[in-house]
């Protein structure tokens, strides 16, 4: 039931996700942050059972950090991180798959390029200009198809994302009152807005 969607604009990537943590008909939590920073300039919006979401993202984050510690602060590019994530999903696939679908976005400071990757639990991956995971794709892909173009500014990107949120809140059967929006650009990963503060109460 998770809604996760993202777009690439000129200079960065915006990822939005709903904040519900639920199983079947029960909502455990309404301020979950499903967009996990992997490094200073990459983040991953994830959908799937909370157990896999946390386990997988912790593993990836730790390995990205380990690389930086082992190699005198050298960072992995967005593309390298995405391929590492996909490789991890692929290796686990025929043993004990991680049931996570994700959108990985990042900004490479060295060559000033933004990258967005769509990945699913079967370890398929593709670089995209925009992407949607879950039922939300039925509602949001058409908005992206219509409104996305090369060379968007961050403000224009945010407007499109807000349009998607609006559409879901109007037409999607499952009520999703809270969305968190994050951006990654030259300055790094930061939160633009949230429905409920993810900080633990």
């Amino acid at each position: 039931m998770d809604s996760v969607f993202a777009l690439r604009y000129d200079g960065g990537v915006i990822i939005a996700a709903d904040q519900a943590n639920a199983r079947s008909i029960l909502v455990y939590q309404n301020n979950l942050d499903k967009i996990i920073p992997l490094s200073s300039h990459t983040m991953m919006g994830m959908s799937g059972p909370n157990s896999d979401l946390v386990n997988f993202s912790d593993f990836i984050r730790a390995n990205v950090k380990l690389y930086e510690l082992m190699n005198n602060g050298a960072t992995l590019t967005t593309d390298a991180q995405a391929n590492f994530v996909r490789g991890t999903l692929a290796t686990a696939l025929r043993k004990g798959p991680y049931q996570v679908n994700l959108l990985l976005g990042g900004f490479d400071v060295a060559d000033k390029k933004a990258g967005l990757y769509y990945m699913d639990y079967m370890a398929s991956m593709h670089p995209v200009n925009f992407g949607v995971q879950g039922y939300a794709s039925n509602f949001c892909l058409s908005i992206f198809d219509r409104d996305w173009k090369e060379g968007l500014t961050q403000e224009e990107g945010v407007k499109i994302v807000e349009k998607c949120i609006n559409e879901l809140q109007t037409r999607f059967l499952v009520a999703q009152p809270n969305f968190i929006i994050k951006v990654v650009d030259e300055k790094g990963v930061r939160t633009l807005s949230f429905g409920e503060d993810p900080a633990d109460v």
């Binding site: 190699n71 050298a74 992995l76 590019t77 593309d79 390298a80 391929n83 590492f84 490789g87 060295a110």
Partner: protein, 255 residues
């Protein structure tokens, strides 16, 4: 005194030395010389081609220069059989990195991996160290062209120009005097090639009369594709460089 502490790789001598490692380094001083020079637009690695007997079949592939991956090449001095093992390890390391991250392994990480592999043979297991020294020349997007030297101890360092194998001290002193003595920045490939030949002329017993006594390797970057271009000079190309060096040294005395 050394005799009691030199049989085992894993024993320090009272002076704090590892004699087996030092003996391994000595073994390389009998091998054919390799010169490596860093240029502004690439790397030159020149090696002496030693032919011990006229009955030897001509080599099908190089005995000194080996491609590790698309962006790293190595030049070997020492026991060829030992070198083969380490080259295999270097190729596996580069290949595994690319498989994991889908991008080329940073050069220093590759060199460090091979060196860590060598170091194990100086500390565990009672096996002798590898009798090989390497020159690694490579390119990556963060640091551009780089030249590294590593030896049996597992130590490595980055160089602008260096020399391994027979008469490497003479080679190094020539490089110290001649490498980029006049200008700022790095020399270009053409200058580096001529300097490499000059060094080999000095370290080899007799000045090379023909292009097949040397192996001259160059690495450049093709800006259009972003790929490294590896080239071992043909006999004709090598002869041209030799002639240019001979002409320069002939006129050098006139000034």
């Amino acid at each position: 005194m050394a005799r009691r502490y030199d049989s085992s790789t894993t024993t320090f001598s009272p002076e704090g030395r590892l004699h087996q490692v030092e003996y391994a380094i000595e073994a390389i001083n009998n091998a054919g010389t390799c010169v490596g020079i860093l240029a502004s637009d690439g790397i030159i690695m020149a090696s002496e081609r030693r032919v011990n007997s006229p009955l030897l079949a001509p080599a099908k592939v190089s005995e000194k220069t080996y491609k590790i991956s698309g962006h790293v090449t190595t030049c070997v001095a020492g026991l060829t059989a030992d070198a083969n093992i380490l080259i295999e390890e270097a190729r596996l390391s580069a290949g595994r990195y690319f498989h994991k991250y889908q991008c080329p392994m940073p050069v220093e990480q590759l060199v460090e991996h091979v060196c860590n592999y060598k170091q194990a043979y100086t500390q565990y297991g009672g096996l002798r160290p590898f009798g090989v020294a390497f020159l690694f020349g490579g390119w990556d997007s963060e640091y551009g062209f780089q030249l590294y030297q590593s030896d049996p101890s597992g130590n490595y360092s980055g160089w602008k120009a260096t020399c391994i194998g027979a008469n490497n001290q003479a080679g190094k002193s020539l490089l110290k005097n001649e490498y980029n003595k006049d200008e700022e920045g790095l020399p270009n490939l053409e200058t580096a090639l001529k300097l490499a030949v000059k060094v080999l002329n000095k370290t080899m017993d007799a000045a090379a009369t023909s292009g097949d006594k040397f192996e001259l390797y160059s690495m450049k970057l093709d800006k259009a594709t972003g790929l490294c271009v590896h080239h071992i000079l043909t006999k004709e190309e090598a002869q041209k460089v030799l002639d240019a060096v001979a002409a320069e040294s002939a006129s050098a005395g006139d000034e």
